[in-house]
Each structure stands twice: as C-alpha cells, then as structure tokens.
Symmetry: D2
Subunit: 287 residues, 4 copies
C-alpha cells in the first residue's frame, strides 16, 4: 500500500479561545483531511499544545509554501511556536556510543527491520570497540577519542561530521561523555540521552552502584533531551524494573540494560514520528 503524504504541525502558544477552530478551519478550508488531532492545555502554565496530522494529497497550498502561509495566517496571530514536518522526509539520526552495545543493537535492529522510518548515516564512538557492529550494518563509524585536553577539538570534529553526514538529530546510546554548551547550541532539543536511573534520583556517574548502596527496590532509566544542566533536561520517557535484596550491582546493571534500551527506543520513536514537544522543562507526548 502506498502511503499518502501527510503534514504534521506541532505547535504551542499561550492558551486563548478559538485556536483549535482557527487551525482546523485553516486545514479544512484548504482541503486537508485531519487524521490525528491531539491537543493539550497546561493549566499551570496556561499553555496550549497541539499536534495535528493531515492528508496532504488534496491540499491546495504547495508544500514549500505551507510554512510561510501557516505562519502568516495562523501562527503569528496567536504568537505560536510551531514545527512543520512531512511524512515523506526520513529523519537522519547520528548515534554516539562508547563501549556498551545493548542500546546500539536495539536501535539498529529497529532501523533495519523497518520498525522505524529513520536513516543512520553515521555512528560516532569515543572508543573503537563498537566499530565492528557499525561495519556489520554497513554504517560509517567515526572514531573520535576524547580526553579532557582534547574535548574541544573532538567536539569540533564531531560537529564537522554532523554536517558532513547531514544529521537531523543525535542519540547518545550510553555515550558516557558530557556535551558542552557549544555543541548543544547547534542541536537544541535535538540530542536524546539515556540515563540509567529514574531521574531525578541518582544523577551523575554510577547510578547502579548508588542504587545498590541505597537499598532501593526498583531501578529505572530515563530518556531526555540534553540541555546544559547535567541529567536535568526535559524527560521524554521513564520506566523501571523491580529488583530485590538478592540483586548485586552486576545484576542491577544486567537488568537495567533491558530498561535502558526500551526507554531510549521509545523516546526515539516519539521524536522520529514528531509526537513530542518540549517546553520549559517538560515534554508533551502525543501518543
């Protein structure tokens, strides 16, 4: 079955009367058929969020002009922030790794099997160990080692790579490095990390050791957009696994990996499908 082209609008603005009508009328009058409409109002912040997906086949505004038209006719009027995506564009995702392979395999399998509509033009590693996996999937592997001294130049190199491979967004698949603000400003809300704890518990290094020391009865993982504050960016997804007194740190690590990979992959799924919006320190997920 050939898939029709659809357009996806993600928007948020101060809450005010008539927005839904304005947006749906705009689409309806221009011969778009709405497939999904999800709306959310955050009462605390008085903020309106909406995701709307519509069939583009009969739409009378050309694709190239839609951003401009929507901006002029709707967004400006309501002081909206918005994103526009078309289903025909396949996002290009770079994966950054260190030595652990569980998240990487989970990502590669989903791409290869067609579960995700995504391209992975490059895998970047600060260690060479996972190059063999990249090779198996015929994906270029770029080895960019990092030390305290070389961090700046390593990130410059990485940014060059992002440009060379025309990357839309980045996934840190248990990439154990802090990203500097300089790098972040090139990919605002476009870098997804997986942290191996249910944040905000156990921020920072070695969360499983900390969890074991505290004697918790569950461990977790958190996927979030990376911002300047370590492990404090907008949370996209979290999940946990039950553990018991019998679990040693090595068991937490083993059980935690299963949570990490699933929680990271769910976040990537939302991002690829334009099903989330981040505002302030929160995400709205349109499931």
């Amino acid at each position: 079955m050939q898939q029709s082209e659809t357009a996806i609008l993600l928007m948020h603005c101060a809450d005010q009367a008539g927005i839904v009508t304005a947006v749906t009328s705009f689409i309806h009058e221009n011969r778009g058929n709405i497939i999904y409409l999800d709306q959310h109002v955050d009462r605390d912040q008085d903020r309106f969020f909406m995701r709307i997906e519509f069939d583009y086949d009969q739409f009378i505004i050309p694709k190239k002009k839609l951003h401009d038209y929507f901006n002029t006719l709707v967004a400006t009027r309501y002081q909206m922030s918005f994103e526009l995506h078309f289903s025909s564009h396949t996002p290009r995702m770079a994966v950054f790794v260190s030595k652990m392979s569980h998240c990487l395999y989970d990502i590669l399998y989903r791409m290869e099997s067609g579960e995700w509509k995504v391209e992975i033009p490059v895998i970047v590693g600060n260690h060479p160990q996972l190059e063999k996996i990249a090779k198996r999937f015929d994906i270029p592997f770029e080895y960019v080692p990092i030390t305290k001294e070389t961090k700046e130049e390593a990130e410059a190199k990485q940014l060059e790579l992002m440009e060379k491979y025309n990357v839309d967004f980045i996934v840190l698949a248990r990439y154990m490095q802090i990203i500097t603000p300089k790098f972040l400003e090139k990919f605002p809300l476009k870098i997804i990390n997986i942290h191996h704890s249910f944040l905000p518990a156990f921020v920072g290094a070695k969360p499983y050791h900390a969890a074991h020391n505290r004697g918790v009865k569950l461990i977790g993982a958190t996927s979030h957009y990376v911002t300047e504050d370590l492990d404090a960016g907008p949370i996209i997804e979290q999940d946990i696994a039950k553990i018991s007194h019998a679990d040693e740190v090595k068991d937490l690590i083993r059980k935690g990996k299963d949570v990490e990979k699933i929680v990271l992959s769910r976040a990537i799924w939302y991002h690829i499908n334009h099903k989330l919006l981040a505002f302030q320190n929160r995400t709205v997920i349109f499931e």
Copy 2:
C-alpha cells in the same frame, strides 16, 4: 475555589472531513471556551470519536436547550451518536455486593474523601454480610437474596430499588451474580463489573484457581461494561500483578484483590468523569 460549570460532549460517528471544525466552531461561535478536546479515529472501523469539554459560563445557549440545538445543528448532519453531561450534575451510583468488602471500601473511601464526585444512594447485597459497612457510611443497604428460583423476582425488586433511589449507573463490586438481559436492557452500558482475571483468560468462575492450575506468572483483573455475553463486554481497564511459583491460591486471591479494587475504581473514575465511550466491543478512554 468555585468551579465553573462545564459541559461535556461525547460523540462518535462515521469518520468524515470537517467534523472537528464543525464542532469546535459551534462551541466557539456560541462563546464556549474549549478546555479539553480529545479526538480519536479508529481506522479499522472508520469511526470518529471525540470528547470535548468547555466552559459554560458565557455560553449563549441555555443548558436545557443545548441537547436539542447540538442535535439539530451538528449531530444530525454528521449522523452522530452523542451524550451531553454537565459538571454540576453529580452521578448517582448503586453498588451491588456479595460478601467481599475490598472493592466496596475502596469505593466508599473515594466517595467520602471527595476524590470522586459521586453519590451512592444505595448498596444492594445478595448476602447480608456487608450491611454493617453500609451502616457505617450511613448508606441504605438493601438485602435482596437470590436463588435460582427467585432470580426473576429478585431482579424485579432490584429494578424497583434502582428507580426508587434514582440511580444513574451500577457498579458490581465483586457481586457474584449473572445479570439477566431483562435487567441489562434497563442499564445499557451503565453497569460496570470487575472480573478477577486478565480477560479473555479465565472467563467464568474461580479464575484464581484456574490461574494457579495453569501455572501462570501473572494474575490480573478486568473492569468492563456488562453485556449479555458473560465476561465479554467492552473492557474499560485491566492490570496485572506478578506472581511466582511460591504463591498458593490463597496468595493469588490476596494479591488479586489489590489489583481488582484499583482496576474497578479506575473504571468508575472514567465513567463518572465521562471520559469513556463504548462502541461495538471496545472502549475509547479519554484520559
């Protein structure tokens, strides 16, 4: 804080272009401010579902006339089924019980503490054991014993009670009796049952014994609207608990109760707040 009056429209119809716009325009043009809009299209059945809640304070159509106006101006045009509710009406819920108290207490606590906006005008028992609980909460308890022979007349008695107490909907809180079609037709999609298994597994009597025999590793509970087919009505909510080989039937019963009461109470919450629609054998939950 005084709560404003809101109106809630629940609707479904064959999917077609322009419905969202038609409904939101109707509300907007008559000075309603939309607070929540949740929409769902079932692609398999080509069916459109929507829940819309709006501030009524400035609305120009009188409350008594809204059903008629919406029906004429919108619903008929789109061959819609719809329900209209006002937040100022407190639903009246009858609770049917047998001997077990866990669901009943969970319900009573939520009513008493104000977690639910609901009235419980009557508790009906086919056994007298729980009368003392009803008394503690100053709720009339009607003892209607049932045997095979007296079923018909017992149900007639129950229907009288429903009328006397002006009941909107009924909750079967581990009421271990089958409801006949004659009774059901008076309360279509207005009787909520809790079944102590993750349906469709373990339909019928003694599901925990069956679960134990089968050696499953999880048990569950299912809340659903009661229809003529036993344990086959539209499912509202399900959840499970993990168990192990060490759990005997009595442990399954104990652990299961915790799932049952929560799963039943979530279903009641959706119903009270007009957050669900049943169509064919499925429910749409607007959370």
Copy 3:
C-alpha cells in the same frame, strides 16, 4: 481448619561454612519439620541471612525455652543476631494518622476482613479528622495535637499510649510528622512509614509538586523503616505509577494515593509475617 503452631526464626551473621546445616540439624533433631527455609548471602557485605519456619507441634523444646536454647546452641557459636516469633502471637500495631484516610482504610479493611492477622489497639492522630473512622471500627482514637513547641511532650504522651495499649510496632499512615530520636530508640526498626515518592528522589515535603515541576513520567511511593535520617531508613517496598504531561499536581496526588496505600500495606504484610530483616541500610525480604 485449625492452624498448627509454627516457629519463625529470622537470623543474620557473618557468612561462614556450615550455618545452614547447623540450623536445620538443630530443628530436625528436635523434631521440628521445616516448612519454609529462605536463605540469602550478601556477597558485598559477606553477610548471611536466613528465615526458617517450622512446625512446632512435635518440637521437644518448650516454647518458653527456645530462645535460650537456640541462642546457646547455635546463635552464639556463629555470632548471630536473631529474632524468634510464634505464629500464635498476633502482633499489635498502632496506626498514626493526620488527615488523609486512604492508607488508614486500606489497613482497617485488611484487618477486619482477616487478610492480616494483626490487632490494632489504637489509632493516634495529630488532627481530629479521622476519629470518625476509628469509631466506625470500634478502635480507640487518641488525639495528640503537635506543634513545634509541644512536640516533646506530645511524643511523651504518645509513648505512654504505646505502653498503655501494649503496642508491638507502629505504622505511620501518611502521618506528616517527623519522629524524634528519643521516640525512635524505643521502637528501633519497628516504625514503618510511607513516603510519597520513589526515594531517594523527592525527599522531604511536597514530593508530588516537585515531581510535577521536574516533569517526570512516573511517580512512586516508598515504604521504609523510620530511622534518624529523614526518608533515609531501610526501604521495604517501592512501586510506581505511570503519568503523563496531562496530569496536574492534583492528578499526581490522586494517582499516587493508590500506590501509597498498596506499597504501605505490602510492607506491613511483610512485617506482620516476619518476612523481612533489616541490616545496615537495606532490607532482605523473604517472600
């Protein structure tokens, strides 16, 4: 069915060869039939933990002398800490409350229905609101108001009550007061609290507000023994509920209550049935 008397031994000591044999031989040779034996070795701490339950009916050592005999013949030899309980003793549990009733009802229902073999001789409240609930269950309610200034004398009063009612252990059922060391030393590892977050996240006051601010995707609850460090005692049980961006603080509070009461009640179940041991800052649960 009449239940036989069983004895339960809970013990821990430095790990060493032959402990299991020594204990099981002691029981076997004195005509005890072991019903449950659960053993755990913590490799990090090189610590051995065991729970053993055995039929006492044919046991040749009189109940009154068992503590002494076991101490002399086994425990001293292995430098063991141990507890001895008999199934015929029904533990006496005080419940401390403030204004919220969800945990209290959950506790009372389990006692009343016979799910728990426990006596509740007294409910203590620092507010008078829940007295009516105590009355319904014919349990004495002791109102002990507390202010900063009267804390010391209030706790003295509470301790008197504990003595008067012959209390074995205490449950803080959303009792929103800090317990001072002076009180704690009278009930070491005998006070169970429920904290409304997945600790160690959101220690202290208003965890649901903090959770909402952080934008987490799950909320939780933690039952733990109370120690001098606030919210830092040995964790007994934890669980979580998934939430979404659509949940406001009031929804977190509502959904959280369901987790709190279940997590607290599970902890009480373990304690009543002598299924847990706390050592350092961890608990071993023999499920």
Copy 4:
C-alpha cells in the same frame, strides 16, 4: 577475577522431614561451601523443590563421581529427581527462527557482550531471510524449509543438525512452526518458545489480531517449555505492556515485540543458569 568452579544441584521429591538437613550435611561434610540455597515446598502437591549451589574447589568427591554419589547417598533415599550442573560447562543453544529478527538480535547481543555464558553453535531457519544476521555473528545458518508435506523429513534433518552441533537446548525465537512429538521427545523440557500473548489468552495464531478484536487494554508475551499441547507447556515467564484504544494491530505488534524479546531472554537466562525446575505443568524459578 577467576571464577571458582561451582556445582549446582536442582532436585524435587515428595515433601518429607529432613531433606534440607540431609542435602546440606552431604555438601558440608564433603567440604563444599554452600553459596546459594533456595528451597520451595508446593503445599498443594506436597512436593519439595531445591536449588543448591556450592563451591567445588575443596570438595572431596571428584566431579565425575558426584552424580553417582549424590544419587546413591541422598537422592535414592528420598526418591528424588535431580539434575547436576557445573559452572564450568557452557551450555550450547540452538536458535530456530523464521523471518522476524527482534528476538534473534536480543539473543545474539547478550551472547556477544558476555551477558550470557552460552554458546550458539547454529541458527536454524525455515526461511532464508535471517541468514545475513547469522553471518554477521559468524554463526552457521542452516536453512531447513518446511511444508506440510516435508515436515517429517525437515524435522529429521533438524535433529541431525542438533546432533552435529552438539546442542544442549533449543530456543524458538518466533519460529512459527509446531514441533511434533517425535522431535520433542529428544528434547524434553529443553525447548523454550515465546508466544506473543499472555497465555492462556489468545492461544494459537495471530494473537495480536485477536487481542485487538477483543479490545483488551494490555498485551503480553509468554515464554514456556514446549510440550505436546500447543501453547500449553510449563510457563517460565510472562510480562505485559499497556495499550490503549488508539493502538491499531500494527502498534500491538510493534509494542509486543519489546515484551516478547525481554520475556524470552529472561527465560533463557533462567535456563542457562539452571535456575528453574519444571514439574507437572508448572515451573519453579529460583531467582
């Protein structure tokens, strides 16, 4: 750190006094140090189960003779069934596949990363699609197509392969074929399957379609030992994922895969580590 050799005894027999003492004494007296002892008594069936793992380094009975000695001195006396395993033996696992890769990748990653101590000498496919994955991991792929007509000879070929590759046990990683009794009798309780539903719901083909039709609110997966009755063998592990009305069949399939692979891998973990015993239609898991 070099790992010491340990021996693992899995045993079950009719419950009777003195078994634990007999077994622990046997080990203790022969200079074995017990590392893990897990015991379970099934009261319904009056059956005793135990897993015991002990350091073999100082043990005075040679490895080759242990089976015989234990049989003579302990097992026969108590009419025990037992298995003996040594930690130095790495189990050899064949993986049977059809066209779907999610379970296969999950298995291969765990082997490659060292999470599992297992060898995979061969992957068998009734379709050729996954051969490329086998090649990437340098594992022989044997393509054995099956039709109704060729089933008998195909299974004969498979059995030859099992012998050739010296296979200890078999995993059906979404291998969509029924195994005949003839094949099964060669691998009793040594074939692990993953079924894509929470059994006993949705036995047989297309469980996700059936789940969608029934309108359930959760989907699941079940790993079990394969026996002659379709989808009715002893269950090893089950888990579920919450779904909503918005999930179409393709979403159930997508979300279900994540549950399937984790549930299958947990079962394999227990099997590899000799942490489970099947008796009648149940499994005892020593976690």
